[in-house]
């Protein structure tokens, strides 16, 4: 069952990578739905049955019944099923202030080298010239208060930029010490950034560092889809493909119907090498 899969989508790849990081002894605050939730749900079924997560509506440690109806990722009976505790948004924020949130997992529209997240406006803010988005939502609290934040974005120049057009949720802001100067708790911040092609971390100077790539791309391909050059780790690893078991559970128990994963390009194993499938 745990043999490497022969076919999977880029999204499935990311979810499986993150799920492999998730552990029983930590508490996660996940953005409702999408890759963040699917990652912890996959881990809960694979390796971390007692894993606890919370969402913005103050649900603590639910045993969610997936799939959900469209958008029903919070304040719904299936998402909040058999929780340990039901609270409210301020309660979730209290727990994050207190340091109970070990990891936050966030999907991002635009992210920069310091892990600053933009979900407000792409382009110029003033005069409404730019394209307006939804705002930080719960991401600001997660990015500010979780001990470690895992960010997810697409491997695209316009989404992975040197400086976001607008800091909606804080990464390292403009570098070491900046978070503390602005009242955010110390020793917090972005920890990993995942794209369908690569995994990044941060060095002690808060510089984005390419740590690993997907088996179906090269380092140059990754750098080609960034609008700045990250630090390169001494050795850039190659991440392992999803296993059949991971994909089976993901497809049959979690993302049934492919609401989350049925996007992005498909990858297939051909002549012993992973490559993008021809559409």
């Amino acid at each position: 069952m745990s043999t490497p899969a022969e076919q999977f989508s880029e999204r499935e790849f990311v979810i499986c990578q993150i799920a492999r990081l998730v552990e029983d002894q930590y508490i996660y605050w996940v953005g409702g739905g999408g890759e963040p939730l699917n990652s912890v749900l996959l881990a809960k079924r694979m390796t971390a049955p007692n894993l606890q997560y919370l969402t913005e509506d103050g649900v603590i440690g639910p045993e969610a019944l997936v799939p959900f109806d469209p958008l029903m990722t919070m304040i719904s009976s299936r998402a909040n099923y058999r929780a340990l505790q039901w609270g409210t948004m301020n309660y979730a924020a209290d727990l994050a202030h207190l340091g109970y949130v070990d990891y936050g997992i966030l999907n991002t529209l635009q992210v920069d080298r310091f892990g600053n997240v933009n979900s407000t406006v792409v382009g110029k803010y003033a005069g409404g010239e730019g394209r307006r988005f939804g705002g930080p939502g719960g991401a600001d609290s997660i990015a500010a208060l979780a001990w470690r934040t895992i960010l997810i974005t697409d491997q695209q120049k316009r989404k992975f930029v040197d400086r976001v057009d607008f800091i909606s949720s804080p990464g390292f802001l403009d570098g070491p010490g900046a978070r503390e100067r602005h009242g955010l708790p110390p020793n917090t911040g972005p920890w990993r950034v995942y794209t369908p092609w690569a995994r990044f971390g941060y060095d002690k100077n808060c510089q984005l560092t390419l740590e690993a790539i997907a088996p179906y791309v090269s380092v140059d391909q990754v750098l080609g889809e960034m609008s700045f050059k990250p630090v390169l780790a001494a050795t850039v690893e190659v991440m392992e493909a999803p296993t059949d078991e991971e994909l089976l559970i993901l497809r049959t128990e979690i993302d049934v119907g492919g609401q989350v994963t049925d996007r992005g390009r498909w990858v297939e194993l051909k002549d012993g090498k992973y490559q993008f499938a021809q559409q």
Partner: protein, 323 residues
């Protein structure tokens, strides 16, 4: 306690003393029946220019029927508390009712870029949790509360938050200004005629909204007796004296869900989200707001019995949603 840095945005005046006086003079301390229709409640308690907070949203145990009634009555110049919300802000702005939003998160699309560009709508920047914290400060009768997020963001200078030096730790800490909306609309599972109300399951800020707001309309799936509340006082989410109007609104959250009572109507959700993404709400408003005179007519003519039955059938989980 030095102010290090402060946001420059316009904000609803912080006035805990004024709110106290309002509570003394205008909140119904005596238990009086407040049952009334959507029409009467909105006519009496929602006014042009109000700062309006609604709890949850159009899809999740939100006061959707009251939002439709507000648009139907063509309120103007509302200032919205835009937290944890998908289409409600869009409906109220596109419906011509609102021109300012404090944003935590709103469902975006062409409508909002257009509204901002054309100056139809002013935006002030916060986060979901900061907006609920502002309401909590308002619900505690305090002028502000500290928080440890949002500092250093580009939203900060477009908010009314302040970064101050904590006089105890000497470290920088954020302050959010209390929010005491002029009006709040809240949808609940159960209420009595006096306004005692119960929400089952998780929530966003129903209790804070009720205690922080000058005029409060509660819409309820069920009207139950006060004895129900006295039988299990721990379940009371909102006390009667915070509430000005009680509206019986079965399926009041349509097309959304009321957890434990009925599931959402995916088709209805997709229809609203479609309008959001297209940036054109004319058809949606025509069908779901202007084509009917009341929520009762809406359920009868637009929603229909079959859909209501189906929504109840699809909500199979009851655990935790009863007293």
């Amino acid at each position: 306690m030095r102010v290090i840095e402060e946001g420059k945005a316009e904000f609803l005046k912080v006035d805990p003393d004024g709110y106290r006086t309002h509570v003394r003079d205008h909140k119904p301390h005596r238990m009086v029946s407040k049952l009334m229709s959507h029409k009467d409640a909105v006519e009496r308690f929602i006014r042009d220019g109000d700062y309006l907070a609604y709890d949850c949203n159009y899809f999740q145990r939100g006061p959707s029927s009251l939002i439709r009634e507000i648009i139907r009555q063509n309120r103007k110049n509302l200032w919205l508390c835009g937290k944890f919300t998908y289409v409600a802000c869009a409906l109220l702005v596109e419906g011509g009712c609102a021109d300012r939003i404090d944003i935590g998160f709103i469902g975006f699309g062409p409508w909002i870029s257009r509204a901002v560009r054309e100056g139809k709508c002013k935006i002030y920047e916060y986060s979901n949790a900061l907006m609920t914290l502002r309401l909590k400060a308002g619900a505690m009768g305090l002028p502000f509360l500290p928080a440890r997020s949002f500092g250093g963001t580009d939203g900060f200078e477009r908010s009314a938050c302040k970064l101050v030096e904590d006089p105890y730790t000497k470290q920088p800490v954020l302050l959010v200004p209390a929010l005491n909306p002029d009006a709040a609309i809240i949808h609940v599972h159960q209420a009595d005629e006096f306004g005692n109300a119960r929400v089952f399951g998780t929530g966003i800020t129903h209790q804070e909204c009720a205690l922080a707001s000058k005029r409060v309309i509660v819409s309820a799936e069920e009207i139950v007796s006060t004895d129900e509340f006295r039988r299990d006082p721990a379940r009371t989410s909102i006390p009667h004296f915070a509430v000005d109007a009680v509206v019986h609104a079965p399926f009041g959250a349509f097309p959304g869900t009321v957890q434990g009572y009925y599931a959402s109507d995916p088709q209805g959700v997709v229809e609203a989200m479609g309008a959001l993404y297209r940036g054109d709400f004319r058809e949606y408003l025509k069908k779901h707001v202007y084509s009917v005179a009341s929520h009762e007519e809406y359920l009868d003519k637009v929603v229909g019995a079959a859909k209501m039955i189906e929504m109840r059938r699809r909500e199979t989980i009851r655990e935790g949603y009863v007293s």
